[in-house]
Every structure is written in structure tokens, then in C-alpha cells.
């Protein structure tokens, strides 16, 4: 780390921006080096979607310091938004807005994906506020448990949703089920943006660029938010809530906006993943998904935007490429009859523990967080020694 710091001092001030720009250009041009559809491109699309998800969680956990263990709720709500508004799930309805080609002939609701993603962001922001409200008076691990409980409640509703019938006084949707439970809503419409034809699974480049566009949007928003008045207020309540309140930071608004913005980002990613994975299934929304995303931001560095991007990409490739394709035969070479893919969450758990003990600040740490962690460890021992003297 010290060498990087020294390098930073010697290089001109614009160099980080130049590096960021080069990385972005390389990311835009990457599909041209690959065939139209292969597993590498597939993993890249997933990685970008997870970058969006991880940046959203980073807004809540990294910036504002509110440990949200129920982040999967926003994946679920975002994905269900896609499921409801761009599939043949509600067969009795015939609503088509901004879609073309074969989609116009299908029954159900089919909206242009741009409308879907905006709807997902808005619905998730509202859900984020609803989940955030009960945690306002709580701190620390109590927030973690309440958010976890909310995530589980949403999962129970998703699983049992096929038996929940929307009451008949609701316009349009009256008498229809809420979700399709464990069977899942499938197929989902191929993604369609205004002025373009629907995408298809054989040509992954449009999917990739859409995900990249989403990731860049969220990345830009994160960078701007971090340095804004709101972002500084988040960091202030993360560092010391009482001090922040007494210096005039509006606690309720600041906390709720962090929940809402983080949730909206998760919802956008969920809406994309719902369409890309072509199914919205209650089995996807487990507690372990929240931990998977949490592991990404811990690995990259809590609060550090570029670190989180790196962590999300690294863990996606670990999960979708290294574990199933590269290392899967490893246990059998040692004579163990296990499938490494079954143990992927154990590996994430191991990463969490290892990172927290060996390098709590993450791969690319945020400077302020690093200082805080460095001063935190061993504090009580030192204080006790002081007291004894």
C-alpha cells in the first residue's frame, strides 16, 4: 500500500482519471475481442449486474454504515417487477407498451425494459424506506437482524405467492396471484430498449452494453454521491451517530435516503438479472445471496467504490468460472467425494472471516475507513493499560 501511496504522490493529478477512462474504454471495446456468445461473455454480463448490486449495497453498508443483511429483498422486488411487467404471467391481461416484434402478439403485460427498470427502481426505493423505517431507532447488529428478518419475510411471500390472490378491488390485477412461487415466472421477455429490436440470448453484446451502461450510471452516481453533502452526512453518521446529529445532520432523512438509493440500485440490477436469467423464481432469493453481495463489498473494501467494483467482478468470476470450471475437480484429486459448487458459500464465508482478520480494509481500501480500522483494533487493550497506570 505504501508504494501505491508514493506512486500517487509522483504521478500527475489527472492520472487516476486517465486510468479510469482507459478501463472504461477497454470495458466498452471488450465484446469485440470475443465471439457473439460464449461463457466468458455470459460471466461478464453477470459480473456487471453484480457490480450494480454491490454498489447499491455499498451505499447502505459502506457509506452509511448500516449493516443490511436483507439486501436480497431488493433483488427479489426488482426481479419480480420484470416478471410482472414483461412476461406472459398475467395471461388475462393484454398490455403492450413500447414493444415490437413477436412480443406484441403474446398475452400478458409487456412493457419496454426502460419503463420496467425505472419502475423497479421506484418500487425498490419505496420498499427500502419501508424496511429502513423500523431500523431508525436501532443501531449496529439490531439493524442487521431487522433487515435479515425483512429479507426472509419477502422470501416467504415469494415462495407462497402463488396462493396469494390479489384482492378483486385492485384495478387490472384483481384475482391474479402475486408470484409463481417455486415454479418461477418463466420465460421473461427478452430485453428491449426504446428504438431497438428485442435482444436474444444468442447475441450477448447488447446485453453486455446494457449492463455496462447500468453499471457506469450507478458508478457515476456513487462517485458523485460520495463527495456530495449527502455522502458526507452518511459518512458522518457511520463514524459517530451522536456527534453527527448534534452537528445538525438530519438523521431520519439521511438514513432513509441511503436505504432508498441503495435499494433502487439493487432493484435496477434485479430487473436486469430477471430478464437475463430468463426466470424469476422464489428459490433465488435466499439469505445467502445477501451474504454473497456482502462478501463482494468486504473483499473490495467497505465504502471504496473502485474496490467494490473489483470485489464484485472477482467474486462473480470465482463463483461462475473458477469454482465450477477450474477448481471443481480439486476435491476429487484429494480423494474427497464432494462437489466444490456445493461449498461456494462456505468459501465466501471463509473470505469474509479471512478478510476481516487479515485485511479488514479490503483490497482497495477507502482511506478514511482504513484509518478507522487501524485505530480501532487494540484500542481497548491500550485504554486498559492507560487506566491501570
Amino acid at each position: 500500500m505504501k508504494t501505491i501511496g508514493r506512486l500517487r504522490g509522483r504521478l500527475p493529478a489527472w492520472s487516476p482519471r486517465a486510468v479510469a477512462g482507459l478501463v472504461i474504454v477497454a470495458a466498452i471495446l471488450l465484446p469485440f475481442t470475443q465471439p457473439e456468445a460464449n461463457s466468458f461473455m455470459n460471466n461478464c454480463v453477470l459480473a456487471l449486474a453484480y457490480v450494480v448490486m454491490a454498489l447499491g449495497l455499498n451505499t447502505v453498508v459502506g457509506f452509511a454504515g448500516l449493516l443490511d443483511l436483507g439486501y436480497v429483498a431488493f433483488f427479489a422486488i426488482g426481479a419480480y417487477t420484470t416478471g410482472w411487467f414483461s412476461s406472459g404471467f398475467y395471461t388475462n391481461l393484454h398490455i403492450h407498451i413500447g414493444v415490437s416484434g413477436y412480443l406484441t402478439a403474446l398475452p400478458g403485460i409487456h412493457l419496454n425494459w426502460l419503463l420496467v427498470v425505472i419502475a423497479a427502481a421506484i418500487i425498490c426505493a419505496i420498499a427500502g424506506i419501508v424496511i429502513g423505517l423500523p431500523t431508525l431507532r436501532l443501531r449496529g447488529d439490531y439493524i442487521a437482524v431487522v433487515t435479515l428478518a425483512f429479507g426472509e419475510i419477502i422470501r416467504v411471500f415469494a415462495i407462497n405467492g402463488h396462493s396469494i390472490i390479489i384482492p378483486s378491488w385492485v384495478p387490472l390485477f384483481g384475482g391474479e396471484p402475486l408470484t409463481n412461487g417455486r415454479q418461477g415466472i418463466t420465460p421473461i421477455d427478452q430485453l428491449q430498449l426504446p428504438g431497438l429490436k428485442p435482444f436474444d440470448q444468442l447475441h450477448l453484446r447488447p446485453w453486455y452494453w446494457t449492463a455496462l451502461g447500468l453499471a457506469l450510471l450507478v458508478l457515476f452516481a456513487s462517485l458523485r454521491l460520495r463527495d456530495s453533502r449527502l455522502g458526507r452526512a452518511w459518512v458522518a453518521i457511520r463514524e459517530d451517530e451522536v456527534a453527527a446529529v448534534s452537528t445538525g445532520v438530519p438523521l431520519v432523512r439521511t438514513k432513509l435516503s441511503s436505504y432508498a438509493i441503495g435499494a433502487a440500485m439493487g432493484g435496477m440490477s434485479g430487473a436486469f438479472l430477471g430478464a437475463f436469467l430468463n426466470t424469476v423464481n422464489a428459490e433465488q432469493f435466499t439469505f445467502s445471496f445477501s451474504i454473497y453481495i456482502l462478501a463482494m463489498i468486504i473483499l473490495g473494501g467497505l465504502g471504496s467504490i473502485w474496490g467494490v467494483v473489483l470485489g464484485a467482478i472477482a467474486l462473480t468470476f470465482l463463483n461462475y468460472y473458477l469454482i465450477p470450471d477450474v477448481f471443481n475437480s480439486l476435491p476429487s484429486t484429494f480423494g474427497l467425494g464432494v462437489n466444490l459448487t456445493d461449498l461456494s458459500y462456505g468459501i465466501f464465508g471463509f473470505i469474509l472471516v479471512l478478510m476481516m482478520i487479515l485485511r479488514p480494509e479490503g483490497l482497495l481500501p477507502e482511506r478514511r475507513h482504513q484509518e478507522e480500522l487501524a485505530e480501532g483494533i487494540g484500542e481497548t487493550e491500550a485504554a486498559l493499560v492507560e487506566e491501570r497506570r
Partner: protein, 357 residues
């Protein structure tokens, strides 16, 4: 962080009014929430059947199921009391307790359905001791590996290692017995009715649950309130720095707390394995959350509260399983958890903690 403390009570009566309402909800809301469904179901039962047999059966099996939850909840509450940390892998310790005891019974001791009654009873006792010791040791190791290096670090850090440890241990469970439920031989004929009192059926499994839990709970309460180590634990829970200055070895006390919590989880594991006769790796997560909710209902940090909370959650779970459907039970328990967190974070018997309220 109470907003009420900042409101000047004498000068602003208009501000005070909602404060009184909130106080009333805080004091009686939880009790109301717990009693109201029972009253409603009692009235419904009286209307439809003319007696309360169904409800009393619900509550009885709830209490007997709740003893298992109470044993796990004790571990949460002790650890929270002493280091103010939710020991999330505790549910997984309970799961490993089930695995250890059932495997020890069948594979090591070779006890099956054909073994004589005395052999089964002795085997259960030996595997109870083994499971308790194993779980106690695992819990101590968790503390050594995941929490001790981070003592004094920001609150988020040990909580994240806790989550990580929980996942590692779930995977240990998957490696051990696979990813799907495994059946345990029904050694005690769990569903056999022993007596029927006022229509309440007492099964053999209930007797096992009470037989294991009540002595342990009594022993535990006595240990915490009477013994030297128990006093050290309470002192450390109140003020770790002060306790250390008084000559208490805080590290040993914390280790002992984790060991005691693990002992209880191991016992709960054995009872669960014989009670339900199926075990699987995910029972730790489910049971752990139920037990944590129980600890919070009773007032986290409070031993008697955890035992009471366990019984209450058991009743809520059984009633909901029987009346609303088991697929909705988690949502109902978690809804209770959230409501308690909002209106009475200190629980039924607990006092205001530094973190909540």
C-alpha cells in the same frame, strides 16, 4: 437513542401526548400481541367445537418444542450479555450438536431400534454429554478464531466474521451429511402418547424435551447466580473494564461464556434430533433465528428472559403451524421480531441496552 429524552416534558404538553401513547405501546403492546391471538383462537375454538382441546394441544406442544428453542436462546443471550455481539453461528453450533449426537448414537455406540430400553437411555445420556462437550468446544473455537482478534474493532467487523463463520459451519454440515434431510432412528418412539390429560396428548418426545431441558435450565440459572464464575460473567457483562480492574480474568470469563452457550446448544441438538427424527444442515439457520427472536422477546442479555422467550416462540410456532400453515410460520415469527424491535427493543424482562431503544 430515544427521541423522548430530548423532548422537554414540562413545557411542551402537546409534544408529550404521543410520547405517552408510545410508552403505553412499548409497555403493553408486546403482551397484547402475544395474548391477542390466543384469545381469538380460544373464542373461535369455543364457537366451532365447544372446548379448548385444540388450543391447549397447540400450546402444550409449543411449550415442549419451545424448550429446545429456549436452550439455544440461552447461548445467544449469554454471549450478547457479555460482549454485546449477536453470535450468529450459534444456530449452526446447534445443528452440529444434532449431527454429533445422532451420529455418535448410531455409528459409534451402534444403538438402533433393537437395543434394550436401558441401553438406549444410557446411549442417549452418553451422546448428550458428548454433543454438549463438542458444541462447547466449537463455540469456544469460534470465539478464538472469529471474535478475539477483532476485539475493539468497529462493531461491523465481528458481525461480518460471525456471518462468515455461520456459512463455513453450514458447509461443514453439508460435507458431513449432505445437503438434504437425513432421518434419525426413532429411538424413543417420539410420537407415542404416554398420557392424555384434559385432551392434551403427552408424547414421549415431550417427556424427553422436559427431562433434558428443565434440569439444564435450573442448573444454568443456579450456576450464573451462585457460582464464582457466574458472578464473574455477570460482572463482565455489566462493565468489562471495571471487572478487569477488580481482578476478574475477562478473557477466561468470555471463553467460559461461549463454552456454556455451546453446552446448551449441544443439548438442544440432541433433543431436536430425537424429537423431530430428521436433521439437516439448514436446521441451524432456521432454529438459530427462532432462538434469536426468543432471546430478543425475553430481553437479550437476560437468562430467564431467554427461557421464557423460547417457550413463547415455541407456542407461536406451533399455533401458526397448526392454524395458518407451516409455510407462513417464518414470516409470522419474523414479523413478531420486527414489531418487538420497533416498540420494545428491551424485550419482556430485559433492561434498556446501550445498543437498542
Amino acid at each position: 437513542m430515544t427521541t423522548t429524552a430530548t423532548a422537554p416534558p414540562a413545557t411542551a404538553p402537546a409534544v408529550r401526548r404521543p410520547w405517552i401513547v408510545r410508552e403505553a405501546i412499548g409497555r403493553f403492546g408486546l403482551i397484547f400481541l402475544l395474548v391477542a391471538p390466543i384469545v381469538v383462537f380460544a373464542i373461535l375454538d369455543l364457537q366451532s367445537e365447544g372446548n379448548l382441546t385444540r388450543l391447549s394441544n397447540n400450546l402444550f406442544s409449543g411449550v415442549s418444542n419451545g424448550t429446545i428453542i429456549a436452550l439455544i436462546a440461552v447461548g445467544y443471550t449469554l454471549v450478547y450479555g457479555i460482549i454485546e455481539l449477536i453470535n450468529l453461528p450459534h444456530g449452526e453450533v446447534f445443528m452440529l450438536g444434532s449431527f454429533t449426537s445422532s451420529q455418535f448414537l448410531t455409528a459409534v455406540l451402534g444403538i438402533g431400534l433393537a437395543t434394550s430400553a436401558l441401553g438406549i437411555a444410557g446411549g442417549i445420556f452418553i451422546s448428550l454429554v458428548v454433543a454438549m462437550l463438542v458444541c462447547g468446544t466449537i463455540n469456544v473455537l469460534i470465539e478464538k478464531v472469529a471474535y478475539r482478534p477483532l476485539r475493539g474493532a468497529p462493531k461491523l467487523a465481528p458481525l461480518i466474521t460471525a456471518v462468515g463463520m455461520a456459512f463455513i459451519m453450514q458447509n461443514v454440515g453439508i460435507l458431513w451429511l449432505g445437503g438434504s434431510p437425513v432421518s434419525v432412528p426413532d429411538l424413543i418412539h417420539a410420537q407415542q402418547t404416554v398420557v392424555t390429560v384434559f385432551g392434551i396428548q403427552v408424547h414421549r418426545s415431550d417427556l424427553l424435551a422436559f427431562g433434558v431441558t428443565i434440569p439444564l435450565a435450573l442448573g444454568m440459572t443456579a450456576f450464573i447466580s451462585r457460582s464464582r464464575l457466574g458472578k464473574a460473567m455477570r460482572a463482565t457483562a455489566q462493565d468489562p473494564h471495571g471487572a478487569r480492574l477488580m481482578g476478574i480474568n475477562v478473557d477466561t470469563t468470555i471463553t467460559a461464556t461461549f463454552f456454556l452457550g455451546g453446552l446448551m446448544a449441544g443439548a438442544a441438538g440432541l433433543v431436536y434430533a430425537l424429537y423431530e427424527t430428521t436433521i439437516w444442515y439448514f436446521q441451524g439457520f432456521e432454529g438459530g433465528l427462532l432462538a434469536f427472536t426468543a432471546a430478543v422477546i425475553g430481553g437479550i442479555g437476560n437468562l430467564r428472559g431467554a427461557l421464557l422467550g423460547g417457550l413463547i416462540i415455541g407456542c407461536v410456532q406451533q399455533t401458526s403451524d397448526n392454524r395458518i400453515g407451516p409455510e407462513w410460520t417464518p414470516a409470522i415469527v419474523f414479523a413478531y421480531l420486527i414489531l418487538i424491535m420497533i416498540f420494545r427493543p428491551q424485550g419482556l424482562l430485559g433492561e434498556q441496552t446501550r445498543e437498542a431503544g
